[in-house]
């Protein structure tokens, strides 16, 4: 691409910040933790925290750099996007990782900053920034999956509080969460306009959580039951009936974190399948993978991954050059899902029966991980708006195709 190089490039204004970040990280990141990622996650419980890990979380929490671009007033880092990129580069350089994560950071925080009242922001944002509070999502119900607006959990107006009754499902990390942001029905006569966005304490009387065991053997999701749960009125975000608008905005944050964020980054940085395949299957006289059919499919997948990486980069550059919202963002979730699943399918195929081990000494750690990764990966094209729902969105919102009359 043609770039315009300034004849006398001035000193990068970010250099000062880079020096500051480097010095702070050197003073605060325990080097023993380098590359030992133990970030807060939506789908994993809080493990035992070592002293180093606690110190690192508290340091980042106090500095606000776990949520670098959030406003300083609410405990964020107050950094520009460019500064946040520099911070990420400096952290990557020394193997430092962000200990602050989970749904509060990825989805709920940005939404509350946009729609919450001043009091709600003061109450809820700082504990997220410090990594002290875990949030979970109360959206899906047994009868409201892809047709989310069909949700039936009801919040009855009782003067100074709501009385909530109903059942949520697929509550990620519900068994470990402190609080839940939920879509509830406040009006049964209107579908989308009858939905409100409510914040519920998970330890309130009447909240019951049951983990769901998945095909991978893990239980990252729960069923959550609400029976006569009292929720104060000040926990309503926005107005009654505004929940669908706010809830959809939150899903946009979810989608961008599912596609452009960590999981894809890890995918692009993972051990190349070609290397794993050479190790398990061997090569021919010319150094090519011995199984020509497998090789051809690995190359297709590899190309898909590269094309996706270039598309993520293009979307970021286009957004930066403010050519308006890039149409590419809407397809990212589907491509990310297909690549994730195809990689796992190829990996277990490469390993043969060894790629299907469940547990025990007869399998390597890599093989056992692969089995679980493959099974867990089937969720990627279902959660956060299934592949079919994303295709509906592309067809209707971007291509202008019509609803059935």
């Amino acid at each position: 691409m043609a770039t315009l190089a300034a004849p006398d490039a001035p000193a990068d204004p970010l250099d000062a910040f880079r020096a500051e970040a480097r010095a702070w990280l050197a003073a605060n990141f325990p080097s023993a933790l380098a590359h030992k990622d133990n970030a807060m996650s939506a789908v994993e419980g809080p493990g035992e925290e070592t002293d180093d890990q606690r110190r690192w979380r508290e340091a980042m929490g106090a500095k606000g750099w776990g949520v670098p671009t959030w406003p300083r007033d609410y405990g964020g880092g107050g950094l520009s996007r460019a500064e946040a990129r520099v911070l990420a580069e400096e952290m990557a350089r020394i193997g430092a990782w962000n200990p602050i994560g989970g749904m509060g950071v990825m989805m709920f925080g940005p939404t509350l900053l946009e729609y919450g009242s001043e009091a709600q922001k003061r109450e809820h944002i700082p504990p997220i920034a410090r990594g002290e509070i875990r949030w979970c999502q109360g959206y899906s119900e047994p009868g409201a999956g892809s047709d989310l607006a069909n949700l039936q959990t009801f919040a009855e107006d009782c003067g100074d509080h709501y009385l909530v009754n109903g059942q949520k499902t697929w509550t990620s990390g519900g068994q470990w969460a402190d609080k839940c942001f939920a879509l509830v029905r406040t009006d049964r006569t209107r579908k989308h306009e009858g939905i409100s966005f409510l914040l519920i304490d998970m330890d309130a009387p009447g909240v019951e959580v049951k983990p769901i065991r998945l095909i991978s053997g893990a239980s990252p999701f729960c069923e959550t039951f609400f029976t006569d749960v009292k929720v104060p009125k000040e926990n309503l975000v926005g107005r009654e009936g505004e929940g669908w608008t706010i809830g959809k905005r939150l899903l946009q944050h979810e989608r961008s974190s599912l596609s452009g964020g960590g999981s894809t980054g890890r995918l692009l940085a993972g051990t190349p399948l070609g290397e794993i395949a050479k190790r398990y299957r061997g090569v021919d006289a010319e150094g090519r993978l011995a199984d020509a059919d497998l090789r051809a499919r690995l190359i297709r997948h590899d190309m898909d991954v590269r094309a996706f990486g270039l598309t993520l980069r293009r979307a970021a550059l286009e957004a930066k050059a403010s050519q308006g919202p890039s149409a590419t963002s809407s397809i990212m979730k589907n491509v990310g899902a297909r690549i994730t699943q195809e990689r796992a399918e190829l990996a277990i195929e490469i390993m043969g029966m060894s790629g299907l081990g469940w547990e025990g000494e007869g399998f390597s750690e890599e093989e056992l991980t692969q089995t679980r990764t493959w099974l867990w990966g089937k969720a990627v094209s279902i959660y956060g708006g299934s592949t079919e729902i994303q295709n509906n969105i592309v067809a209707k919102r971007i291509l202008g195709m019509l609803d059935h009359q």
């Binding site: 690995l298 270039l310 050059a321 592309v394 291509l399 195709m401």
Partner: protein, 355 residues
């Protein structure tokens, strides 16, 4: 769309407005019906020359604009949208061979004329129906080149040829000891078999130059494919909104919506790899071969998907010569095969990646 400079944006807008007004797909139909000997309308080529497009990749010192491959790709994408027949892509790749080559006289003699739109030069590499630049029988002895090249794009109207011999790349000018046999192909464009019988040849460079020029030719083809596939998709989307069956526009049927969403997704990925290859060439990156193979393989598959779906989703009307869907289908298939099909580029990509 890549982030463009002001000059590039102007160039793209000019190309778009010109093809819309002066060279819609009806113009290609007229060329197809008139079947001019060179495979394009000379008046159109003269206009292309006046707009300076043949000089986009010619260095400024040699009379060109020196704007690079991403810039030329913007123009070829627009020409591809309406299947505009010109020898622009072939001549540009040949011009790069001369510009990157080792012969100063050839540079001085040909590049200013190419940039001015006064010379058409074709790139002659393959000797069979499949791209195979590592198995060439063409030889040069005492400055004279002998061999037969097949399916040379724009070979009917070219005044000179950049020819790949077993030991490198040469320039053959004029008609002395050159004989051409036109190939009538499905896309109604110029392709010719060209026989060189001890033709006087100027050496441009070694096999590395041949490989670099093949990559540039392939990258330019992907830019044309991007426009072709994009327009095929847009026309199909528009048709589905107007065609009514079962009392509904076809675009209301979810089965079709999801096929269109899939194609849209693939087109977005294709744009990224095509621009990625053109940018890699402009930046002189060391992974040009990989970037081009990625673009030609992914772009070829997507062009195939969209052009075939264009016919299927148009139903019976798409099967008729009266409709232009067939033009897109036929040109798409030729572009897919040129300079290495998807399978050839996948194999090369795998070898370059070490497996």
């Amino acid at each position: 769309m890549a982030v463009l400079t002001e000059d590039q944006t102007m160039l793209r807008d000019m190309a778009q407005s010109w093809t819309d007004k002066e060279s819609p797909v009806a113009a290609f139909r007229a060329v197809r019906d008139a079947a001019p000997p060179a495979g394009f309308d000379p008046a159109v080529w003269a206009e292309v020359g006046q707009m300076g497009w043949p000089g986009i990749v010619v260095p400024e010192a040699d009379g060109g604009a020196g704007m690079g491959y991403l810039s030329l790709g913007l123009v070829l994408e627009q020409l591809g949208r309406t299947l505009t027949a010109t020898p622009l892509a072939a001549t540009a790749a040949a011009a790069s061979a001369i510009a990157m080559g080792e012969d100063a006289e050839a540079r001085a003699a040909w590049l200013p004329r190419i940039a001015a739109g006064e010379a058409i030069v074709a790139l002659a590499v393959d000797e069979g129906p499949l791209h195979d630049p590592d198995a060439l029988d063409t030889v040069v002895a005492d400055g004279r080149l002998t061999g037969t090249k097949m399916f040379v794009a724009e070979g009917d109207g070219a005044q000179a040829f950049v020819v790949a011999a077993a030991d490198g790349l040469y320039l053959v000018a004029g008609d002395a000891a050159v004989s051409r046999t036109p190939r009538r192909m499905a896309d109604s464009r110029s392709h010719a078999d060209v026989r060189f019988d001890a033709a006087p040849a100027v050496r441009l460079g070694d096999k590395a130059l041949t490989a670099a020029i093949c990559d540039r030719a392939a990258a330019l083809v992907t830019a044309e494919m991007l426009g072709l596939a994009g327009q095929a998709f847009d026309d199909t989307n528009a048709y589905l909104k107007t065609r009514v069956q079962f009392g509904q526009p076809l675009s209301t049927f979810q089965a079709l919506q999801h096929r269109m969403a899939k194609m849209f997704t693939e087109l977005e990925l294709m744009r990224s790899v095509v621009e990625g290859a053109l940018e890699a060439i402009d930046a002189g990156r060391s992974d040009v071969a990989q970037a081009v193979s990625l673009a030609k393989a992914v772009g070829g598959e997507t062009t195939k998907l969209v052009s075939r779906e264009m016919v299927q989703l148009h139903g019976g009307i798409g099967m008729t010569d009266e409709h232009h869907a067939g033009f897109y289908l036929k040109r798409a298939a030729v572009l897919e095969a040129m300079w290495g099909n998807a399978a050839w580029h996948r194999d090369r990509f795998g070898r370059l990646a070490g497996y």
